[in-house]
Symmetry: C2
Subunit: 558 residues, 2 copies
């Protein structure tokens, strides 16, 4: 059987003019700022006019811990959106934008797959509507203004050893991780060591994704701590007077981007913060706008449910006042087998025992999500190699956990293949059973919040941290930051901090190596293990084969 | 008398939908890729369909050496385009895009002024259609791939001391001028000294502006010399295999941007290379497209005619096969006074003698442009403080040089104020007197080309250069680059290399400090004096006051 590739399917898409997609949601043409014929930003004024309207129902798509087998979380998010539209619900999809840099490293793409894709795929993996470029510019304007402030006399008495604000680039460039800048003498400033992160790791990205509007955005940008004085007093972005100009640079980036699925259903693709040192969800403004326009909003969170769903609930929903009605946990037979100890090369052979052995990873995620008071359904994203017996094993296991697992064939069939899941989601959401509450209260201490997540979500035994880390958390509590949620940065591959520990480990130790304050975004990052904020390129980067073909189409990007 | 500011005038503009502006030029809506309601890119396919059509007439707007008084070259370019349309000629304007970074340093803006502006002004001074971001990304992808190549074994045997390719950022950031990268140990690469230029100084910018189409673009990108081996053999971008992916990143940036004047006439705003280390003109593709669509195309070149017009003729016209029909040299009474020795603070008082004393600067430019075989007219860009006697002094001087000077009031009155100039331009262009030829033949030696420009355009005595510089030029000649034109990088404020030497100096010495090969763009840069390729921010950067006002409008950018 010969399959079309994702890009071939995307190129064959019968796209409608974006104005028609907007009209489905009641967005008048004059409030849609077009970017080409198939992308548009929704205007501020229109978004403001929605204030007071009732919200639709919010559905989270999350997943088991990712494995090299691939789970298809975005594909399922897109498929479910199409499926809900198919059964007569006005549904809107909300997903993240793709980062440009990594596409030139490994073949990638973040627009779903098969018959469940968002288009235009090529542009979504290139510059799209320029949001990430705007974030890069805003971030680096602040960086330049900090060094410029010091150059001209350092009136704020910034301790040049304690500058917390680095620079960013949307590129996989390991050479920029660690650099000494301002070399070359008097006219270039005071040499100091610093470096670059990839743009998606910028606090500006997290801020953009958590801000309600431009006013909130500017306030949060002003709140960024860029450095400390010798007396360890924080110096804010506001003190550098960069917040106004940064807001100007971000004014268009702040508006949600509307595109469409292969089935011409509306999708907002907006924002894309890291899912480790940040919260990993699309923008609050996109989700809130979609909730005003649709009966259903299907959105996803980064990585597995231990990181992605927890942050979605404890950071995004808490801060934006969102109340999810149901959650879908995506699993695959192949991933269950890998969790059960099968190597990637051996995934083709039926192995019911391995599936059963791997299921507890899924079971843990089901229990965790239920723990937030949100009704759960499992989507088994179907692969051709899955056998009936394997699928039944997953279904049986999930039933034992008091939930239902539904086989979904949206990758091959689009909305037709995911109708059952869509119906179940409607049943859960309209059953009124959701009783969402975050995991911990705002007023809990910062270290206790870390412990709560580690014990209740990761089933860890101990949380260990140096005195310096604990003292830092106490200092932030004293400074008034104790009410912030915690953003856990750990490997996405395991409930533990050991990426090779699959399944559902218990009693492991979580070491908190470092803590960082994202005062503008409004969370404290707890770094457990090595977290890379500037990726490198592989030996043979995808860029070497990316090119335009004779028809002017992009080859090699996907 | 109270004047409206440029931004107030721009905000009051009665813009037409960009599709209507395109329709004036016969561009069908489906070939206009909209960016918002008032900007659009012209599609590749449509541009290809114009092949074989007759060209309109090309008019260059250039100027005397710039002074702090301001000459208004862009304002006159826009005004003349409106003026030609007013007298019944289908005219299109072609100007450069503004660089983002410098707008956060000094108040700026590159969209004309008064009643002769191109809109939307705010966006043209911010991200516009993202072209410069795309250039930044393409440039830095190559940078990352070079270091990545070395990291994974350096198969091409690049001498790490001889990497010619730096990184770029569209920001005034002096801290990045000189940096050591790849610090931090094995996983980050081999430490080496390098730095960042501002994006407009990237060779990718010059290449984009000189390429005929995407194929030509990719070929030129491949030709970039990124480094040398220990044996001093060049390593090309093509060897790094970055040319295909860079072309993909630039595919939209390569398409000209259509906007409109305050009088709803079409303007292409596309590309913006540095006017010192590059040639300082808008893109060839924009100019060529405009020539197919309009009876008249009015374009400008960077800095004064000694740099801008010379490069326009000797690099852009030579390489793109363009034949300008007439040239306008912009001068102001104020600038003549400054050339005559008056300080900026004293410009308000009538001083006919100083005007007369300053005129030889203008006279030199008139003679130089005539030397290219192009008919010349002088536009006196009127200021309210100009007296009749001062204006008459300029007119009389210009008449003595065998040309005509016409007083233009487009800043205050729009096209109505520049009708006389428009009529004169038509007379010159339709008189068939243009007999354009570049200054020197391709086959002249590289150093001889530098000497020719220095003697014939700058009226210099000697050209001096170290043996190493002369040897380098000979080595490039031996390597087959001898037929390239030369791109002079010197101060724009004087015919000499001393920025304080106004007027029309003679017999001065031009020191060639350094030469660089832009093998992709296709020119050899001769650097005479200090040329800054990464600006810094001033003590109080404009960014500190740039913000959104309560109405959501940008304040402080202009």
């Amino acid at each position: 059987m010969a399959f079309k590739s994702d890009i071939e399917i995307a190129r064959d898409a019968k796209k409608k003019p974006i104005q028609e997609i907007g009209a489905k949601l009641g967005i008048p043409t004059e409030h849609l700022l077009p970017y080409g014929h198939d992308k548009a930003k929704v205007g501020q004024e229109f978004i403001r006019s929605l204030e007071g309207k009732a919200d639709g129902k919010l559905i989270l798509v999350t997943a088991i811990n990712p494995t090299p087998a691939g789970e298809g979380k975005t594909t399922t998010t897109v498929g479910l959106g199409d499926g809900l539209n198919r059964i007569g619900k006005k549904a809107v999809i909300c997903i993240r934008e793709a980062s440009l840099g990594p596409n030139f490293g490994m073949k990638g793409g973040a627009a779903g797959g098969g018959m469940a894709q968002v288009v235009p795929m090529e542009e979504m993996n290139l510059h799209f509507t320029g949001d990430f470029h705007a974030i890069t510019a805003a971030h680096n304007l602040l960086s330049a203004m900090i060094d410029n402030h010091i150059y001209w006399g350092n009136e704020l008495e910034i301790d040049q050893r304690r500058i917390a604000w680095r620079r960013v680039m949307d590129m996989n460039d390991r050479a920029l991780r660690d650099a000494v800048v301002s070399l070359g003498g008097v006219s270039n400033g005071f040499p100091r060591q610093t470096g670059f992160d990839i743009t998606v790791a910028s606090e500006v990205m997290a801020i953009l994704c958590l801000s309600r509007d431009l006013e909130d955005l500017q306030k949060r940008l002003g709140d960024i701590i860029v450095a400390y004085t010798r007396e360890k007093k924080p110096v804010y972005c506001r003190d550098i007077k960069a917040d106004g100009a940064m807001t100007v640079l971000l004014k268009d980036a702040m508006q949600p981007n509307l595109v469409q699925t292969l089935e011409n259903n509306p999708a907002f693709v907006h924002g894309g913060p890291f899912a480790n040192i940040a919260h990993g969800c699309n923008s609050v403004i996109a989700t809130r706008t979609a909730l005003k326009l649709g009966e259903y909003v299907v959105t996803e969170a980064g990585f597995g449910a231990d990181l992605g769903a927890e942050k979605f609930f404890d950071i995004k929903c808490r801060k934006a006042g969102l109340k999810p009605s149901a959650a879908v946990i995506v699993a695959t037979v192949r991933a269950m087998k890998m969790n059960g100890g099968v190597a990637k090369a051996d995934l083709g052979a039926e192995n019911v025992a391995a599936v059963q052995k791997g299921c507890p990873n899924l079971g843990r995620h089901i229990a965790n999500v239920k723990g937030f008071g949100v009704p759960v359904v499992v989507a088994i994203n179907h692969f051709y190699s899955d056998t009936d017996a394997e699928v039944e094993a997953v279904k049986a296991y999930v039933a034992e956990q008091g939930a239902e697992a539904i086989l979904c064939k949206h990758w091959a069939k689009g909305s037709e293949g995911i109708e059952d899941l869509a119906k179940k989601v409607v049943e859960l959401a309209e059953g009124g059973k959701s009783n969402f509450a975050p995991l911990y209260p705002d007023e809990m201490g910062l270290f206790a919040k870390i412990e709560t997540i580690a014990r209740r979500i990761y089933h860890a035994g101990d949380v260990i941290a140096d005195k310096s880390v604990r003292d830092q958390l106490k200092a932030w509590e004293a400074a008034g930051y104790g009410n912030l949620p915690v953003c856990m940065a750990k490997t996405q591959y395991s409930f533990s901090t050991d990426p090779n520990l699959r399944g559902a480990p218990e009693g492991h130790t979580i070491p908190v190596r470092e803590v960082r304050l994202s005062a503008g975004a409004g969370f404290v990052v707890a770094i457990c293990g090595e977290i890379m904020t500037m990726p490198g390129l592989p030996r043979v980067p995808a860029a070497e084969t990316i090119r335009l073909n004779e028809a002017g189409q992009v080859e090699g990007l996907f």
